[in-house]
């Protein structure tokens, strides 16, 4: 049988034995000043939180629980998120056409945008992309050579919208540029970014900057002449746009994005089949939209 412990309440001396000593050997206190000390039963409830096994099991359980939780949340919300992203992309495309503040984005989009085409090598928007295959990011599409052209109709006039991707100062930037039927005059633009500096580079997403592009021309002597310059340095009002003040790097990013992306669209931009169709096969001037044979034929004769 284990010995009991008795503690002197006066001086703290601990006596081991069956009963309390008659006198405390340290302070001479009598036996009734001694108290029995019950050996500390497991101090805390539950397992020892410092043991290795506990730590490892705890970590494993926690990680698995959190992983399941995150997977669950993400799979439940996935559909809604995708729909939101799709809607947002459509909103951005509409914004390039200077259509903002729409209530029902999907309906307006369906009404205004006549089709999403891929550019063929001869510059014709030929292969139509089905609505179900609507892309929300055009970066990989561009890298893989699938050049999208959206054809829209605003107030009875045909507009072309080209998606663009590039690099800003801190991360990706992207945008859409809408051109008039002449494939040269800018009708409107939309730019956005992931993490440019608020108040500086982030201003490319502001309307005042995007409006500066309206009415500018894109192509000059078979080259992309549309340029974003340093703020206040724009000289040629036809092709040059003032950048954002104190955000030269981001402005340069926008400039490079426009130049690289539009350069790939050169065959499309320089092809003006609808403006001279003397051969008579396009009677109503609808040839580009209707994608008739004549445009191709004419395009070839022009070259």
């Amino acid at each position: 049988m284990a010995t009991k412990e008795f503690k002197c309440t006066v001086c703290g001396y601990v006596h081991k034995g069956d009963k309390a000593p008659e006198k405390c050997p340290v302070c001479q206190a009598p036996a009734d000043k001694f108290e029995e000390v019950t050996p500390e039963a497991p101090a805390k409830k539950g397992p020892n939180t410092n043991s290795n096994v506990y730590t490892i099991v705890y970590a494993a359980v926690m990680v698995i629980l959190v992983a399941f939780l995150l997977v669950f949340v993400s799979s439940v919300l996935k559909e809604r998120q995708d729909a939101n992203v799709k809607n947002d992309t459509k909103k951005q495309i509409l914004s390039a056409l200077n259509i903002t503040d729409v209530q029902d984005v999907a309906a307006t989009y369906a009404e205004v945008i006549k089709g999403d085409f891929l550019m063929a090598e001869n510059g014709k928007p030929s292969e139509q992309v089905e609505e179900a295959d609507f892309k929300t990011s055009y970066k990989t599409e561009f890298d893989e050579g699938r050049l999208h052209i959206f054809i829209a109709e605003v107030d009875g006039e045909r507009k072309f919208i080209i998606p663009m991707n590039g690099l800003g100062l801190w991360g990706p930037i992207w945008g859409y540029i809408a051109l008039n039927d002449d494939r040269n005059t800018v009708y409107g633009t939309y730019f956005s970014h992931q993490g440019e500096t608020p108040g500086l580079g982030a201003e490319i997403a502001a309307e005042y900057f995007q409006d500066r592009f309206i009415g500018k021309n894109v192509v000059k002597d078979d080259d992309i002449a549309l340029t974003v310059t340093k703020n206040g340095k724009a000289v040629d009002a036809r092709y040059e746009v003032d950048g954002v003040t104190a955000a030269t790097m981001t402005s340069n990013g926008v400039n490079n994005m426009i130049k690289t992306v539009l350069a790939e669209y050169m065959p499309f931009l320089t092809k003006q089949c609808c403006q001279h169709h003397e051969d008579g096969c396009c009677e109503d001037g609808e040839c580009c939209e209707a994608e008739t044979e004549c445009c191709e034929a004419e395009g070839e004769t022009n070259e």
Partner: protein, 206 residues
């Protein structure tokens, strides 16, 4: 008890402010204060996340193995932030676009880890919740002060509205572009600390 709760809530607002006294969360104070709007949004998001993670860690505090407590705290914060951002993306897409990187930035905000380690690990859930709210608001207050100065002097606007009248510009006044650069935020935080210390003599170092 009510008195103590009051203290827990009020102390971080001024006497024990997380930014100017505990010097926590300086990094994000520099990043998001160029304009007032992101500063307010960031301040509120941090308040909510600190409060929630404080409660969770406080509930778990007796079971967390001591040696991996920082990792546990980090996992809780990261999971919470990810879930909040997913929910925003699904139900408030516009807001989530506006917040973009800031939500992710919350994970790295030292206020969270600081409060979890210093307070939630030792205190009851309700106290921890109040501590989270208090510290979040204290953080938000400093962010707002710095952002007001930066946006007003750097852009002449507040929340996007023009504040400095046009005739000032016509008489030669110019926006101070330096205000929008990160170093200016550091200097402004320094100024706030200066004012704060001059009001609280016992915090001054000898």
């Amino acid at each position: 008890m009510a008195n103590k709760n009051n203290e827990v809530l009020k102390q971080p607002l001024w006497i024990n402010n997380p930014v100017v006294v505990q010097i926590l969360g300086i990094c994000s104070a520099l990043a998001v204060t160029a304009k007032l709007e992101p500063a307010i949004v960031m301040g509120l998001s941090v308040t909510i996340i600190v409060a929630l993670s404080n409660v969770i860690i406080s509930l778990l505090r007796n079971t967390i193995p001591n040696r991996i407590r920082i990792i546990v705290q980090l996992v809780v914060v990261a999971a919470l932030v990810t879930i909040v951002s997913e929910i925003l993306k699904a139900f408030a897409y516009d807001v989530s676009v506006q917040l973009s990187v800031y939500i992710g930035l919350i994970i790295t905000n030292c206020i969270l880890m600081g409060r979890l380690e210093a307070f939630a690990m030792q205190n009851k859930p309700w106290d921890s919740f109040l501590d989270g709210i208090g510290n979040g608001l204290g953080y938000a207050a400093i962010l707002v002060i710095v952002a007001i100065v930066r946006e007003l002097l750097g852009n002449g606007t507040l929340l996007g509205f023009k504040i400095i009248p046009q005739w000032c510009y016509e008489h030669g006044y110019m926006n101070n572009g330096l205000m929008l650069m990160p170093p200016m935020a550091l200097i402004l935080v320094g100024c706030v600390i200066w004012v704060h210390r001059s009001k609280n003599k016992d915090l001054q170092e000898k």
